[in-house]
């Protein structure tokens, strides 16, 4: 086995220090080492986006980041953006608009969508569709996902 590397990660506000093989993928560090199984793996080729998390505030595919590359980073996963009692507005919007079916792509979809709104708070439908081109869903046909994101945008706009 190759020598391990010590990595510090701030995940959902909690500091973690891990000794990892350099090849450990960030998604496996989160799932297998930290027990944060809300982040999913759906492909081998950085296409499906089910593993999307926020790393230093930006949406990234955690299956294509080595844990060692994330040393010192702030990571937010689906578990970190809201809880059942205190849902993130994007989680609430997905629930209200039937933006999910099997739920497998949903955490990645929500993480991408919330990053998209952080960058562009009032996107058009087309901008939402292009913003989510890195997240595959096989159940919803995207209709209600797009509706959810636009709903979340209009609600946060109303609050502002």
């Amino acid at each position: 086995m190759s020598s391990t590397v010590n990595v510090r990660l701030n995940v959902n506000g909690t500091e973690h220090e891990l000794d990892v093989e350099p090849r450990l993928l960030l998604v496996h560090a989160l799932r297998d080492r930290l027990g944060l199984t809300g982040t999913h793996v759906g492909c081998d080729t950085s296409n499906c986006g089910a593993c999307t998390i926020h790393m230093n505030g930006e949406a990234v595919k955690s299956c294509t980041v080595l844990a060692v590359q994330a040393d010192g980073a702030e990571v937010t996963t689906i578990e970190g953006i809201g809880t059942e009692d205190n849902l993130h507005p994007m989680q609430e919007a997905f629930w209200n608009n039937h933006g999910l079916q099997c739920g497998y792509c949903t955490p990645g979809m929500i993480m991408s969508a919330s990053a998209l709104l952080a960058r562009n708070p009032n996107p058009s439908e087309e901008e939402v569709r292009h913003g989510l081109e890195g997240n595959l869903c096989r159940c919803t046909g995207y209709h209600n996902i797009v509706k959810s994101v636009l709903d979340a945008a209009s609600k946060s706009g109303a609050q502002a």
Binding site: T37, C48, L136
Partner: protein, 794 residues
């Protein structure tokens, strides 16, 4: 929320947001890979790179010697199995060639990805290293990839049969030859429904735990009860000692309606090693070895009178089954045959099916299973016929619709459609689509060089599987009853648990079933918990596929609830000194008709039932079970319109608008129905425009990832317009029909017709899917009707 809280009247029909969602949107759901057991080992498969080869030798020594590797197994190690993987269709009077199919190949591999060995080790990283150290020597054998070549003769996929033919099966009604003799016009086409993948975003995965004589298997499946039966049979265990759990399942689309070798291996290995064994499929594996769908080449012939009346429809299907028969492989094209007349009154209909082996991944049920293929054959051919006759494509449909007075309507082949009103759905579609305005716009756009087209599909299908007497051993030949079960438990507090034998995985059945039960029991859906997917909890079940879970599973739930209501009424009647027939459920209470103030909430009834203060002769408790076997299938229907733009220079097709009007009987939760239609439509658009499983001439799969297998993204799709009519089904008390496959069944034909409509002025009269940019460009180039696959021959 109080479990005794009064409910608003009528949850059925409401767009209740889903009970499933809180765990899913917060990342708290548990899919197979989210479950870990102490001491678990990991498995990784060594798979054939050859399409057809003799396995000369397997050297496992280097892999076995690696740190972290516990065992390496090959096919020989698994000689103690009780049998090969199952194929559960035995059609009376039909011979089906059925080769043995083992979890690990025994001496010969039949398609790329066929497993030859498995490494079991400490973690997923260790085993993925070790598989590279297993050295397999192959002696390539001639491979046959094209089904039309395979059916012609040698080389054979399975030499022992002396043919690549799997079976022949026909369903005929009337006399097609007589019908063609009456016809003024006959069109013939070659219709290709190319091979596609189910491609759920969660790949398959298993975690088997055998300890002290009992086996628990967590598996990402649609059919935990079928898996339990076959694990027990093939491992020689009592079924009572096998528990199969389908935890959260990340999509199925038919791909997880299967009993897979990887499931059997994990169970076998856990028993052998005394440790839990986990296997999580990679996407590459999923694209390579999880069963695929469609892959039918059909020669269709449709005849009509000059006025558009269809006189006969004859379809000859060559169905590519790949290298093995999976659990229902050879049955799939037959599901299309049952509705080969579509929603039309056609006196003479015949479907002749030939199954063929090739050195490719097996096919089996994928969303729609036989019915999207049939609908493509019917609806695309009908447009061709309309064009030939110079008729409007909607006019020819209206002329041939089975009129609503005919229902229940028996088709030429003896299938009885339960209910329908096809004009009504098409009328409703016309409220959304102004065809005359479209044609004017289309003309104007063409002047500007924009090639816009519109395509229609008026469809029906057969679902709600299934009346066991029709599908069972003495009927169609499926070796199982396809009834469904439900158990309703009212707890002491009045909370309710529903145990359904279905195994939903995204459809929203927890919500829809809760709505049904809540109305009947006068409680809020929030106090109704729906439990599924665990064979050790609740009655034996028949699981989820074929758009059955509401029409069949939901009806079982309704019937079991009715039994609870009957008992509750008897208890209430005794308590209130009234007659049971005078008790009604209103405003959240069981009360005496006419005296709404006097009544008992469900919690009060349960209190009496569990204290045992029940009327004499009645058992205590408030819990009922039902096994429901439907009298007939249900036949949803609809009318879809698709508008596309075709770039005449590049051939690229863009879906501009899609309108779907569907009728799935009574709408229990319209929000869920729309969601099923949206997803189904994109599945069908995906097949028509983007997706294709492709093997090269040597049998190498060239679409083994989401890079090369192009499922649509949000950026390619438009928003959809959906509407519905509600023509209740007489088959079940809910009046409901299935909707999970509807969109898929309709969409590919609507898209195909739209693309042909767009490019007709460029000289293209007919095209087959996939309508990829290059193929459309080639068709336009060839022009004047000479299309790439099968020109018009009328």
């Amino acid at each position: 929320m109080s479990v005794t809280g009064a409910a608003p009247a009528g949850h059925v029909g409401r767009e209740l947001r889903r009970k499933e969602d809180p765990r899913l949107i917060t990342g708290r759901a548990r899919y197979v890979d989210d479950i870990s057991l102490s001491g678990q080992l990991w498995a990784a498969f060594v798979r054939s790179p050859e399409a057809h080869a003799k396995v000369v030798s397997i050297d496992t020594s280097a892999a076995a010697a690696r740190d972290g590797v516990h065992a390496v197994f090959t096919g020989e190690d698994m000689s103690d199995l009780g049998g090969a993987l199952p194929m559960a269709w035995v059609p009376p009077g039909v011979e089906v060639n059925n080769p043995e199919h083992w979890p690990l190949a025994r001496g010969v591999v039949k398609h790329v990805g066929d497993p030859v060995a498995v490494v079991v080790g400490d973690d997923r990283y260790a085993v993925s290293d070790a598989v590279e150290d297993v050295i397999v020597e192959y002696e390539p054998l001639p491979a046959v990839i094209d089904p039309e070549v395979a059916i012609a003769g040698a080389p054979y996929v399975h030499d022992q049969f002396g043919t690549n033919e799997v079976h022949q099966w026909s369903l005929a009604g009337g006399d097609v030859e007589a019908g063609f003799a009456e016809a003024d016009v006959i069109v013939e086409r070659r219709v290709v429904n190319h091979r596609i993948a189910g491609a759920p975003i969660e790949c398959r995965g298993v975690l088997a735990d055998y300890r002290a004589g009992s086996l628990t298997l967590y598996t990402s499946t649609q059919v935990p009860h079928f898996v339990r039966l076959f694990m027990a049979l093939l491992l020689g265990l009592g079924e009572d000692h096998v528990r199969v759990v389908a935890p959260e399942v990340g999509g199925g689309f038919g791909q997880k309606l299967q009993v897979y070798g990887e499931e059997l291996f994990a169970c076998w290995a856990s028993r052998k090693l005394g440790r839990p064994v986990k296997w999580i499929e990679t996407r590459t594996e999923n694209m390579t070895v999880a069963h695929q769908g469609r892959d039918q080449i059909s020669h269709v012939k449709m005849g009509a009178k000059r006025d558009g009346t269809i006189t006969a429809f004859h379809v000859k299907i060559l169905a590519d089954f790949g290298a093995y028969n999976m659990i229902l492989t050879p049955l799939i094209p037959s599901l299309g045959a049952f509705v080969m007349g579509g929603c039309y009154k056609i006196p003479n209909v015949q479907t002749d099916i030939t199954g063929v082996f090739t050195n490719k991944c097996p096919t089996d049920a994928i969303r729609g299973a036989g019915r999207p293929e049939a609908t493509q054959m019917i609806e695309v051919t009908l447009d061709q016929l309309a064009h030939e006759l110079g008729m409007d494509p909607l006019e020819i449909r209206r002329r041939n619709f089975i009129p609503k007075e005919d229902f229940p309507a028996e088709t030429a082949t003896g299938v009885i459609y339960d209910s329908g009103d096809y004009h009504k759905t098409l009328d409703k579609l016309m409220e959304h689509v102004d065809v005359a305005a479209f044609r004017a716009e289309q003309k104007e756009l063409r002047r500007q060089g924009v090639y816009r087209g519109i395509g229609f599909c008026t469809w029906t299908e057969i679902c709600g599987l299934a009346p066991s007497r029709i599908t069972g051993p003495n009927g169609v030949g499926v070796q199982a009853g396809l009834w469904e079960s439900a158990m309703i438990r009212v707890h002491n507090t009045g909370a309710v648990t529903v145990y359904t034998g279905t195994s939903p995985h995204g459809q929203g059945l927890e919500t829809a079933m809760a709505q049904i039960v809540a109305d009947k029991l006068g409680v809020d859906p929030s106090v109704v918990e729906v439990v599924h997917g665990d064979t050790s909890i609740g009655p034996e079940g028949r699981n989820t596929y074929g758009s059955r879970s509401l029409a069949t599973g939901g009806e079982a739930v309704a019937r079991a609830t009715d039994k609870v209501v009957d008992k509750a009424k008897a208890i209430v009647a005794a308590e209130l000194e009234a007659a049971p027939e005078d008790i009604e459920v209103a405003n959240g209470k069981f009360s005496v008709r006419g005296s709404p103030d006097k009544g008992m909430a469900l919690a009060d009834v349960a209190g009496v039932a569990y204290i045992g203060a029940v009327p004499e002769g009645m058992e205590p408790g408030l819990e009922e079970t039902t096994f429901y076997d439907p009298e007939n299938f249900v036949f949803p229907f609809g009318a879809h319109a698709c508008v596309v733009d075709v770039d005449p220079e590049t051939g690229k097709v863009n879906v501009v608008r899609y309108v779907a009007v569907d009728d799935c009987g009574r709408a229990i939760n319209p929000m869920l129905i729309d969601g099923q239609v949206h997803g189904g439509v994109v599945f069908g658009i995906g097949q028509a425009l983007y997706e294709r499983v492709y093997y090269d001439d040597s049998g190498q799969l060239t679409t083994g990832s989401f890079v090369t297998y192009a499922i649509p993204t949000a950026a390619e799709m438009p928003s959809f317009e959906t509407d519905r009519t509600e023509t209740v089904s007489p088959v079940n008390s809910l009046g409901a029909k299935g909707v999970g496959e509807a969109g898929t069944i309709a969409a590919s034909a609507a898209v195909t017709n739209a693309v042909i409509d767009a490019v007709r002025p460029l000289g293209v009269d007919y095209m087959n899917m996939p309508l990829s940019p290059m193929r459309v460009w080639e068709a336009i180039n060839q022009g004047q009707g000479a299309s790439p696959e099968g020109g018009p021959q009328s």
